[in-house]
Amino acid sequence: MNRTVDCITAGELAALGKDRIPEEFQSSRHLIYSSPATLAFNSPGAQGFGVKRAGLAVPGSVMLLVAPGCCGRNTAALNALGYRERFFYLLMDDTDIVTGRHLNKISQAVREVVDSLKEKPTVVMICITCVDALLGTDMERVCRKASEAAGVPVRPCYMYALTREGRMPPMVHVRKTIYELLEKRPRKRTAVNLLGEFSPFMEDMELYDILRGLGVKNIREISRCRDFEEYLSMAEANFNIVLNPECRPAAEDIRRRLGIPSIELTRLYQIDKIQHQYELLGGALGTKIDDQVWYQSAREKVDNFGKNYPNTRFAVGEWLNGNAFELSLALLRYGHQVTEIYGTITPEQFVYIRKIAEISPDTRIYSNLSPTMLNYDCSVSAADVTIGQDAAFYHPGCPNVPWNQEEQPFGYAGLGHLFEALFAAREGEKSERISATCGDERGERVPASCDREKSGGISAASGNGSGEMISAARKDEKNKAVPTALESETQGEKITGGSV
């Protein structure tokens, strides 16, 4: 009986090097296993933000999905999040997908949608899918025609899953699309945009205070724009800060069209690297950033966890707000263990993998996408805490911090909150153990198994609730469309854009 699971240690992987990644870990070389741990990869829109939800980031927009019915099926899940009145569908039939005759219906459909609404939308996003990718549809032309017919701006959103590993994957493209309605305005020295995510960053993120300290009065994020006018005022920014590499092409497009330069910062969990990144940011802005207060606060939380739970064993997934490998390296550097990483191995990750191998060569690395993950034995858990929704799937009885909330973590604030969540998870486990000792059945440890029918649920994983997820998977893949001016190989810090 074959029950092998493809797995490699960090030491073995580092020895092979980034040019010799084994085929079992190259997603293009095998079938993609579909489990709850891969949902964010296969269908980012199933939870968190996919192209459809992201395309509606522009205030007052609506979306017409032009596709076979299957492409819009899961959109109903967004109804509960307040999108019920914003999605419309033009369903293709068999003849459409062969002849492309659906393109002649789009203008009329847009008109009917606009006419059915009480308020005229600010823009109608037309979302198209693999069918039009293969038909080679000129959506710019189709949208121009529809815009003339309906009297509102119409823009294309490309949900081309077929191109997910190409130069412009769908989630990169949509990040560009949502800023395309910005038109040139006089720039204001006191305005800055934060680009990259579709939901706001944590309220106490130090970057807000740092920018305010530098005299910035208006810090704008698309997710915080209350109306279309506020969205349009993003064109006044003196510079953009890119906080997700998938937004590089958007920033470059804004620079080209509106003359707004950008700086890129990376989400990190290694405290010294966060500090170093702020030093670089200060350098780029021609000032010195005093981040001691926030540094100390985060440091205390990291140390407090380490003092109470030294040498904690972690299993880290990739379905979280962060890079699984960078986060694992951070945990190792804080003195803990990382027994397992569920991540997508790409050459870019070797910056971290090499360092992980130095500290913990036996850390096992798995690919969520490997067909052999069907054989993964959940009954042997070597972790005290798991981080990421996917890691929770593999260790259903283990305390879990999903860390995939919509409110985006960044910098010291993100690090501090992560360790608070980890502390709470371990405290929760401790109290459960005490309860169990006292005969409280709530403390009964759930048998570890991926089979929920056997294990009795993933109580630890459910703490975050549904819908509070962001696809962090594959964020750093092959997205090199925009050259980086100041790219450091050391721990992935990037400050780009130069003069601001």
Partner: protein
Amino acid sequence: MKGLLKYLSPFAPDQSGAASVLYDMGGLTIICDAGGCTGNICGFDEPRWFLRKSAIFSAGLRDMDAILGRDDRMVEKIQDAAKKLDADFAALIGTPVPAVIATDFKALSRMAEKRCHLPVLTIECTGTRLYDEGEADTWLGLFQKFAGMEPDAAADKVKPAEEKSSVVSGSEKRADSDKTGTRVSEGMSESEMYGKGAVGVIGMTPLNLSRIDADQIIRDELKAQGFGPVYCYGMRDGLETIKKAGETVLNLVVSPSGLPAARYLEKRFGTSYRMEYPFLGEELKKELHAADGKKILVIHQQAAANAIRAELRKTSGAEITVGTWFLLDEEFREPQDVHLTTEENFARLVTEGQYDVIVGDRMLERVLRNYEGRWMHVPHFAVSGELEETPEELSSCATGNSVL
């Protein structure tokens, strides 16, 4: 406008129906897509996916695979997975991508069978049709390919029972429980061991029944009637029961999607069939008996809608019409029954028909902005993604599905 949905979301597509039938069959299910279809199928249309494993995969097609028609690469991937997972068969499910590039599924099946030494079933879904059509093609394909086959003879590589693959089929999981502890004596067929004989149930998917535990209900019901064993094809009963389909004395069809297969089995084995839907709960029945209207419209899949109509007629003399967005079989329809195709067509039916009561999934009510009659909610998972009852294990899973 035909095809334009202003109030509804799309219903479950054919590929979800096909995958649902195969979920507990114990084979490798490969969805020929780029990933999004698989995410939709598993993350939204398959509630069992959060509860138990199934060998379900995306082919992970990329633009150049589609443009160059690299079927050989897909076959290599299947071969690799088959080696590592010991499956008894593989099933390839179409999506819009192979539909656009006109993939030759027959050739693909032959290539894969030759290379992987596995029986390969292909279901040519396009993503443009509805779930029940995908289900119908899959049931039929399964029975045509495997019914009457010797047990354990599906794959070239015959495996001892205890070495059954890690690809777990439902029937393996519930092996003994269905036999109530009795072992089949040598030389006797299972059906001879049980009173009236074996019964097959076709159409058992959560999409049809809005339940994931429906097999238990029907097993209990049929056993109480003296039948046994009960083969709930596709719901905890896997390929081994499909092979034994010729042994059944009756096929019970719980959705019109099972009718083509039932008719095929009748022709091949002489097994009679009937369409029934024994899943209406006592509470719903009470509510139906209390319905007072002169004109009632029942909207669901045809087997469920017919059962609701029959229940209503026990206490009401109302004029009852069945409307369905899905398959409407001539053999089981009444003259007034209608097939619904567009939002406008549905709204017009209700306005012109002046129905006092509508029984159906409440998501449909969105189309009828000014409807003043009574709406009795009966969920249909293929419409709204809502289950009749959400098991505790499911509600604790964080998922994107509206049922949760």
